[in-house]
Amino acid sequence: MAETYKETFGAKDYPYKVLGKNKPNITAADRVTGKAMFDYDYYLNGMLFSRSVHSPHPSAKIISMDTSKAEAVEGVRLVLTPFNYPDVFYEPRAYFAGHEIAAVVADTQDIADYACNLVEVEYEKLPHVLNMYDAMKSDAAIVWPDAEQNLETSEAGFFSEKTPEGLYAKRVNSPVQGFGDVEQGFKECDHIIEVDDIRHAMQHIPVSKGRGIMVDYNSSEPSKLVTYYTGSKGLYADRARNAGVLGVPLGKSHLVSPYASSFWGPGHIFGGPSFERANRIASFASRDLGKPVSHHYNYHEEMQISNYWQSLTRVKLGFKEGGILHAMDMTHTTESGKNTYTAERNAVRAGGMLAYNRNIQHMKLVTRHASAHRLIIFSYVGYGTMDGVFAVEMAMDQAAEAMGMDPIKLRQLNSMKKGGFDCAWSRPMAYCSAEGHAECFDAVAASTNWASKWGGWNAPNTKTGVVRSGIGAGQKTHTGGGWNGSAMLCKMFPDGTFELTSSMGDSGQGEPTGNLMMAAEVLGIPYERGSMIRGSTGFPYSIYLGGSTGTWNLGYSTWEAAQNVRKQVLTLGAQLFDNATFEDVDMDADGVFLKTNPTDKKTYVQCFAKLQTAPAFENRGGSYEVAGYAYRRALKGLCVPREKGACIWELDVDTETGGISNLRATTSDNVGFAMNPDALYNQQSQGANHGGPWSLWGGAVTDPSSGKLLSYNWIYDYPSTQMDITTTCILVELAGDESHPFGATPASEGQPNPHAAAISNAIYNAIGKRVIHTPFTPANILKALGKV
């Protein structure tokens, strides 16, 4: 049976009362009772529903549209087309099969769906290209009207002029990223390995979550012009994006998103555009009809959003004697299309710059994207990073083989180091504030008994029989953990309860729980007495947050806000003791007491009464609060901890059928301090259960002539129904980010990143054949074995 085992390495005896213990998710009660409100769950009086008309052609001009039949349907309120709403559709043009080219707003979703089918469209079909490989050919149809070719190099920066401390202090604009002199660097190397044509394709799990947006123009919200209801993890940024559509002042708009379903990036919880027109359609329609308009994706659109994207990578690595990685040259090309952004940068940043920054002196990374007539939506989690990690890990394994080294030892020698160069999300220079890959590899190696199971590079040649077992490793690195600030408001009340307030959205990874735990720890009050208000731009600012990254990032502000409250409460309490200052007293669940005499305790009601000067009110402290607000800005020196971990996969390959079975994942992360261990195990396990199967599945079936999605069915979707992977999750508690109040570091978003690489390396260990193209389907395994 599939199971999850949990282990912790290096845990210390922390002096905390709340932190370090497993706490159920603070939002659990809402989630298990159905009270959790997702954007699809809001119904407003008089609300209307819109649906889109889609192009069946991958590339076409829209010559004309006849909307009269649709408009004649009872209940239809408005039909938006590129001709009457150019600000919604930009141009009468389809860039992929399924592109939204018109929309119908009606009294019900069913009427809108029905009327969409009555919109008659005259198309001029244009030449098209349906994948990145064809798009790079010289005779390919050009996707973008203003482009000369489909392949473009992303603008980046070359980092030069090291400071005496070894930091890259200056950035010059360049089509490549990196530093040093790569050509010279390779000349200085003893071993060079180059792996080309590494292909990664990633298919999301297409489970619909009713995503979209409802726009309420003339909002019923007092003093607001527009209210947006959506599923977001970055409410302020999404409000700005949405408000920009109609030019609504930020102060007159409002965004609500208490719960977000977990379709990262694509499902717009990271502000990603998905079907980008949802907010434009709903905004214009709501403004012009004077009613709330809900535009949520239908089944077909969700399937299309989930469809795969692919990438092509070449990696060249140069090593000094002993396996010291000295030079790296990587070219990464991502399939692009409608709505693509930044993923190719993330791929090289995590896989290239960050993962192996310990010894490297010369680096050149080129990122390109090749446009095709496809809708490309990046990421559920990982956000493009897993493409790069996969490619670099393929090359590292082959390098280890070429040098006759244990592949884990080679990774440990070169992995991310504290103070090492980090690329960050969008700014060029940052430095890692924590490390731990080496220890994470030790943990997974010990847990799996790697030393005896791996068997050396000759092991595949010694394996016989139809079914052969293999074991392989991969490094987990992720660029998560931005440094922009977030704000937190902390309040405490005279009955000894407390409350945090933040705009923070939530997709269930545990960040509200983690922040509440931190505040409880600072205040010395039981966690159960805390609550959190969040999910609206009516509350203090927070950046796009997720999981432990959110806990880490927002934790600075939570800590500071709670400290602020603590100091105020202690100051109030000290007034009740003779000649005491806040430094002489402490607080716990019941009240404030003298450090020298803890039994002499003043209740919080007594302390809070000191907020009033009029003696008559002294016993009525119950009506007051103490509040602290904090906003953490960028960290000094731009130090970011990043995610770091390791994994090992074990599996059996059937050499006759090409099937893979008996999958076991062992996964570890340096989490610094595991503030809520169970939440972290949850992230690790889901990462293995998604990242692994993603690489095993064949993906959706599309019509080869148009790219139209054909496999409209979720039941046979392997990743979404896997129940047969045994997972061992290991939390490694080493020094985390020293700047964090509790030494935490992020460990969630990058969880799926290394699994495809480890599975490929395990396949090699089983059958002696490298499979460097995902997915690892039976057909691809048999091809590698030369059997088809």
Binding site: V32, G34, V119
Partner: protein, 216 residues
């Protein structure tokens, strides 16, 4: 060179067409999934037989032919309301009765997100017509807790944080309730069969299976 062609857009089959096509389509889908469930169910797990499903289909067709005011018994309360023949139970429960704890994922019987209990049996509210459920005992996620006291299965999911985003959770809890009502200490295979109709996008099936295995 651009190829000129006049073409009238033809849409795919919408939910409206799908449901409008009559109860036969619904019955067909039910038969398909019944066969699937029988194929993978261990002997001790009870699943409806094809005969029951066909009888149900006939009943649906009769009800569709006579629409009007319908009385639905939901979470122990009786609601009399006008129901159009093509309205799904999910639509009525969410949009007419405001029970939005019932989530909708695929809206076509594939994901189990809309799972509810109808006469104690798990049912997909998105592929069931509201008119066919008149007189039956309908329980949604909102009907499990007894005031502030959570149902034992809700408690199990709460204490084990058995979700990530939680969108699939109400439907999954209903599957677990149906199973644990029958057997408080299920086997692994029973749990897997019981949850096999519930797709989860973002959490961890191991955790879900292990949580339900703890029993009530």
């Amino acid at each position: 060179m651009a190829e000129e062609e006049k073409e009238v857009k033809k849409g795919g089959v919408s939910r409206r067409d799908f449901i409008k096509g009559s109860g036969i389509v619904v019955g067909g889908a039910a038969i398909g999934s019944t066969v699937l469930a029988v194929a993978c169910a261990p002997a001790e797990v009870e699943v409806p037989g094809p005969t029951q499903v066909v009888e149900k289909t006939v009943e649906i067709v009769k009800q569709v032919a006579a629409p009007g005011v319908t009385t639905l018994t939901v979470n122990g309360r009786s609601h009399t309301l006008k129901v159009e023949p093509e309205w799904t139970l999910a639509f009525v429960l969410r949009e007419k009765l405001g029970l939005v704890g019932l989530k909708v994922g695929c809206d076509r019987g594939e994901c189990g997100t809309c799972n509810i209990l109808v006469d104690g049996r798990t049912s997909l509210a998105c592929t069931m017509l509201a008119v066919e459920s008149a007189g039956m005992n309908i329980v949604t996620i909102e009907g499990l807790a007894n005031g502030p006291n959570l149902h034992p299965v809700q408690k199990l999911f709460l204490e084990n944080s058995t979700f990530q985003c939680g969108y699939c959770t109400p439907g999954m809890i209903m599957s677990a309730v149906a199973l644990l009502d029958k057997t408080s200490r299920p086997t692994v295979d029973q749990v897997k069969v019981a949850l096999s109709g519930n797709l989860c996008y973002c959490s961890d099936y191991n955790r879900q299976v292990n949580t339900v295995l703890k029993g009530v």
